[in-house]
C-alpha cells in the first residue's frame, strides 16, 4: 500500500463534560474507528448528528474542537504519526498538506478582507508560492469551480458574492496550497437545493482535476454518493459499515444503513379535493413594514379539510411569510383569507378564541418553540386550560392521552424541554398543537432541523394523526422528498409568487415550467451518476434554448 495518504487506526476521542451540578465526567465521542484513504480518493463520512463524523474529519488535522482530546489510536499522514505531534509540526501541516472547508462559508470568511487575500493566505504563509503564482493558481481554481468572471472574482468582498459562490471560494482556498487532503465538512448543507447542485458539481470537478484526496462529511447519503469513491457510515461514534459507494447504495449490509437509504419512502395515498375547502387564500399580497416590495404578491391557494397542502420553495420565496399572514401575525396588504366558510379577520387581535384555537402552528426549531422553564405537562396542559378550561385531574389525564398519541408514553410529563431529544421536542410541539383540537396545523419546516430517520418518524406520526383526527396541514418545506411523502396538493413558490399549484400528481408530472424543473431536478437522488445525468440534462435544455 504505497499509495496510502491517511491512515487512522483505532482512533479514540474523548471529551470532558461539565454538567452543571454534577462532577465532570469523561465521555467517549469516537471509539475504535479505523480508516485508510489512498491518494486521490474521496471518502464520504456519513451519519446523523452526534455520530462523530466532523470530529473524525478534524482529527485528520490532528485538531479537536473545544476540549476534545484525541486520546488513543494512531493518525498517520503520509506515513507520519500526527496524533500527538507538537504545535510546530502541526502548524507546518495544517493549511499545507491538509486543508478544511467548513459548513458555513459566510461565517468562515473575514468580511473585512477581499476574497483573493483570504484564498491565497495559507499558501503565502507557508511560502509555497510567490504572490503572483498563488494568485494565478487561485484564478485557475475560480475557473475550474465555474465562478463568474474568474479574473476579477478575487477582488470582491465576501458580502458581494452569493452563498453558493462563497462556498466555492472556500473550496478554492482549500485547494490553493496544493494540499494532499481536503476535508469537506457539510459544504452544501446550508445551501438551497438549486444552489447545492452547482456547488456539488464544482467540487466534484475540482477534486477530479487537482487529483486531491478528500474526506467528505455529510448527513445526506444521496449527496455523498455523487462525489465519493468509498463511504463510511458512522453512528454514536462507532463505525457501522464501510464499503464502496456502489456496495453501500445497492447492497447495504447493516440494518441502519438500509434505514438511511430507504428514508422518505413513506407510502401516502393522495386524497381528492372536497367540495368545500377549509382554508381559502385569495389573491393575498403582503409586505413587511415600510418595504417597497411585496414579499407575497397575489397568492391564491386552497386547502381541503383533512388534507395536506405543501408550500415548496427555496429560502426567500415567501413561504414562511405565508404562515405569518395566515396566523394573523402579519396582516395582508390585499386579499382575503376564508377559514371554514367564514372570512378570517386579518390581524391576530381581531380573532376570536375559537378562531385561534382552530388554527395551530408547529415551528422549525422545537428548542426555542417551548419555554425552557416549563415542564412538558405545563406546555401541553396550557392550551387545554386556556381553550377548554380543563384543570387538575382532568387536565393531567388529557395530557397523558396526548403524550400517548405522540408515542411518548409515561414519565415525560415532568420533564423540561432540555431533557428531551430533538425528535421528542418536536413531538411535544405537535402535542401542544393537537391539544387545541385544531382544524388546521401550519407546519413550518418541522423536519428540516432533524436527522433523516427522526424526521421520518415525525412525518409518519403527522400522517397518522391526520388519519385519526382529520386535521389539515399546511406544510412549509424546501425538501421535495418530504413533499412527495405527505402532500395532497402542492404550491411551488418562487419570489413571492405561486409558480405552480395543483394536486400532487399534476404538479409533479411534466411538462414543468423552468423553475419547477430546476427545483425538482436539483433534489439529490440516491443513485450513482445522478449528478452527471442532471448536468447533462441541463446542458441539453440550455443548448435547446
Amino acid at each position: 500500500m504505497a499509495d496510502t495518504l491517511l491512515e487512522i487506526k483505532n482512533l479514540r476521542i474523548e471529551a470532558t463534560v461539565y454538567a452543571p451540578g454534577e462532577k465532570p465526567r469523561d465521555v467517549v465521542i469516537v471509539d475504535d474507528v479505523s480508516l485508510t484513504l489512498e491518494r486521490g480518493k474521496v471518502m464520504g463520512l456519513i451519519g446523523e448528528s452526534g455520530a462523530g463524523k466532523s470530529t473524525i474529519g478534524l482529527s485528520a488535522l490532528s485538531y479537536g474542537r473545544g476540549g476534545i482530546r484525541l486520546s488513543g489510536g494512531n493518525i498517520l499522514l503520509n506515513g507520519r504519526e500526527i496524533r500527538a505531534a507538537g504545535a510546530a509540526t502541526l502548524r507546518g501541516l495544517r493549511g499545507k498538506e491538509v486543508t478544511y472547508v467548513a459548513q458555513s462559508a459566510a461565517a468562515a470568511f473575514n468580511p473585512a478582507k477581499r476574497l483573493m487575500e483570504q484564498v491565497t493566505e495559507a499558501t503565502l504563509h507557508h511560502g509555497l508560492m510567490s504572490k503572483d503564482e498563488a494568485e494565478k493558481r487561485a484564478v485557475d481554481l475560480f475557473r475550474t469551480l465555474s465562478l463568474p468572471d474568474p479574473e476579477n472574482f478575487g477582488k470582491r468582498y465576501p458580502h458581494q458574492v452569493s452563498g453558493g459562490q462563497l462556498q466555492r471560494a472556500m473550496t478554492a482556498m482549500a485547494l490553493c496550497p496544493k494540499p494532499d487532503l481536503v476535508i469537506f465538512d457539510e459544504p452544501t448543507t446550508a445551501l438551497d437545493v438549486t444552489t447545492q447542485i452547482d456547488v456539488l458539481a464544482a467540487i466534484k470537478t475540482a477534486i477530479a482535476e487537482t487529483g486531491v484526496a478528500a474526506l467528505y462529511i455529510t448527513h445526506d447519503l444521496a449527496v455523498v454518493a455523487q462525489v465519493s469513491d468509498e463511504i463510511m457510515v458512522l453512528r454514536h461514534g462507532k463505525m457501522v459499515e464501510h464499503g464502496t459507494v456502489q456496495q453501500i447504495i445497492e447492497a447495504p449490509r447493516e440494518e441502519y444503513t438500509r434505514a438511511l437509504i430507504s428514508v422518505r419512502s413513506i407510502d401516502h395515498q393522495q386524497k381528492q379535493p372536497t367540495p368545500e375547502p377549509l382554508l381559502r387564500v385569495e389573491s393575498v399580497s403582503a409586505r413587511y413594514g415600510a418595504m417597497a416590495k411585496d414579499v407575497l404578491s397575489d397568492v391564491s391557494v386552497e386547502l381541503h379539510p383533512g388534507q395536506t397542502l405543501a408550500l415548496v420553495g427555496e429560502s426567500g420565496s415567501g413561504k414562511s411569510t405565508m404562515a405569518r399572514v395566515i396566523t394573523g401575525l402579519l396582516p395582508p396588504r390585499k386579499g382575503t383569507i376564508t377559514f371554514d366558510g367564514k372570512p378570517l379577520p386579518p390581524a391576530l387581535r381581531q380573532r376570536s378564541r375559537d378562531e385561534l384555537r382552530e388554527l395551530q402552528m408547529i415551528y422549525q426549531m422545537a428548542d426555542v418553540a417551548m419555554n425552557p422553564r416549563q415542564t412538558v405537562a405545563t406546555i401541553i396542559g396550557r392550551p387545554l386550560e386556556f381553550y377548554f378550561g380543563l384543570r387538575g385531574r382532568k387536565r393531567d389525564e388529557r395530557v397523558q392521552e396526548l403524550l400517548d398519541a405522540i408515542e411518548l408514553g409515561k414519565g415525560f410529563a415532568d420533564r423540561y424541554p432540555a431533557e428531551l431529544s430533538g425528535g421528542q421536542k418536536q413531538r411535544v410541539c405537535i402535542a401542544r398543537a393537537l391539544a387545541a383540537k385544531p382544524k388546521l396545523i401550519i407546519c413550518d419546516e418541522v423536519t428540516s432541523a432533524l436527522d433523516p430517520l427522526v424526521a421520518d418518524g415525525i412525518l409518519k406520526l403527522l400522517l397518522d394523526l391526520q388519519a385519526r383526527e382529520g386535521v389539515a396541514y399546511l406544510f412549509i418545506t424546501h425538501d421535495i422528498a418530504t413533499v412527495r411523502a405527505i402532500a395532497d396538493s402542492i404550491a411551488v413558490m418562487y419570489r413571492g409568487k405561486v409558480q405552480r399549484y395543483g394536486p400532487k400528481d399534476q404538479v409533479l408530472t411534466p411538462p414543468f415550467d423552468a423553475y419547477t424543473d430546476l427545483l425538482l431536478s436539483s433534489v439529490p437522488e440516491m443513485q450513482l451518476g445522478w449528478l452527471e445525468k442532471v448536468l447533462a440534462h441541463r446542458r441539453m435544455t440550455s443548448a435547446g434554448n
Binding site: 452543571p20 396566523t327 401575525l329 385561534l356 415551528y363 428548542d367 419555554n371
Partner: protein, 272 residues
C-alpha cells in the same frame, strides 16, 4: 440542593448573621441606643467590644441598631426598584413601538440626572422620613433595573415560544409573568445582589451628608459622620461601619453568585 459551595455557605452565614442581628437588635444590643455609658472614644474592651463613640455611647450597640435601619431601608428600596423596574421594563419590551419609546426615553431622561444630586434636591423639599427615603431611593434605582429588564425581555420576546403563546391568544400579563419572567430571572438575580449593595452605599451616603436617617435614629452612614473627626487622632470608630458594609457586600454577592449559578443551571436552563 446538596453540595452548596463553601463560598456560598460563607456568604449565607455572614449575611444571615447581619440580618439576624438587625432583626433581634433590641434583644442582643448590650446597651440602649442613645445611652451614654462611658468616656469619649474609649478603645475596645471586654465592656465595650468595639469601644465607644464621640459621645461615649457603646459602638457595638449603635452598629447593631444602625445596621437594622440600613438593611431595612436598603432592602425595601431594592424591593421597590425591582418590582417597579422589571414590571415596567417587561411591559415596554412586550408592547414595543410607541409605548416602548416613550417609556425608555423618559427613563433615559431620569437617568441623565446624577442620582445623588436628584436625591439631594428631592429630599431637601420633602420631609425626610423612612418611607420617603425608601421611595426616593427605590424610584431612582428602578431606572437601572428598567434598562436591564427591558434589554433582557426584548431578546426573549422574539423567541418562538412567546410567539406561540401570542398565537394561542394569551394576554400580555401571561406573556410577561409566565413566559418572559422565568427566563429573565438569572440576570435579574445577579443585578439584585449588586443593587442591594448600591442601596446600602446610597443610604449611607445620604446619612453621611446629613439628609438621610435623622438623629436620634442612626445608621451606618450616620455613625461614620459622627465619628469621622476621630480618624485624625487615630481612632478607628469611623472605619467600623465601613468594614461592616464591605463584609455585607461581599457575602451578599457570594450568595447572589450561587443563586445565579442555580437558576442558570436548572434543568430548564436556556441551553447555549
Amino acid at each position: 440542593m446538596k453540595g452548596i459551595p463553601i463560598s456560598a455557605l460563607l456568604g449565607l452565614f455572614i449575611t444571615g448573621l447581619f440580618f439576624l442581628a438587625a432583626l433581634l437588635a433590641p434583644w442582643i444590643a448590650p446597651y440602649g441606643l442613645g445611652q451614654i455609658v462611658g468616656d469619649i472614644w474609649e478603645p475596645s474592651s471586654s465592656q465595650f467590644w468595639l469601644g465607644t463613640d464621640n459621645l461615649g455611647r457603646d459602638l457595638l450597640t449603635r452598629m447593631i441598631y444602625g445596621g437594622q435601619t440600613t438593611i431595612f431601608v436598603a432592602s425595601m428600596a431594592t424591593a421597590v426598584s425591582f418590582t417597579l423596574g422589571s414590571v415596567l421594563g417587561f411591559t415596554a419590551a412586550v408592547y414595543g413601538g410607541v409605548t416602548d419609546q416613550v417609556m425608555s426615553r423618559v427613563n433615559d431622561l431620569v437617568m441623565s440626572i446624577p442620582t445623588l444630586i436628584f436625591a439631594l434636591v428631592v429630599l431637601s423639599v420633602m420631609p425626610v422620613t423612612i418611607p420617603v427615603l425608601i421611595l426616593v431611593m427605590g424610584l431612582l434605582d428602578s431606572t437601572r433595573v428598567f434598562r436591564l429588564s427591558r434589554a433582557v425581555a426584548v431578546d426573549i420576546n422574539v423567541m418562538d415560544f412567546v410567539e406561540a403563546a401570542r398565537l394561542r391568544g394569551e394576554g400580555q400579563r401571561w406573556v410577561i409573568f409566565r413566559e418572559i419572567l422565568p427566563n429573565a430571572l438569572s440576570p435579574l438575580v445577579a443585578e439584585l445582589g449588586l443593587r442591594f449593595i448600591f442601596a446600602i452605599l446610597f443610604i449611607s451616603t445620604l446619612s453621611f451628608l446629613g439628609i438621610g436617617i435623622q438623629p436620634p435614629e442612626t445608621d451606618w452612614g450616620g455613625i461614620v459622620k459622627e465619628n469621622r473627626e476621630g480618624i485624625v487622632y487615630g481612632i478607628p470608630a469611623a472605619l467600623i461601619p465601613a468594614v461592616a458594609i464591605v463584609t455585607l457586600s461581599i457575602s451578599v454577592n457570594l450568595v447572589a453568585d450561587w443563586a445565579l449559578n442555580r437558576t442558570t443551571s436548572l434543568k430548564g436552563g436556556r441551553g447555549g
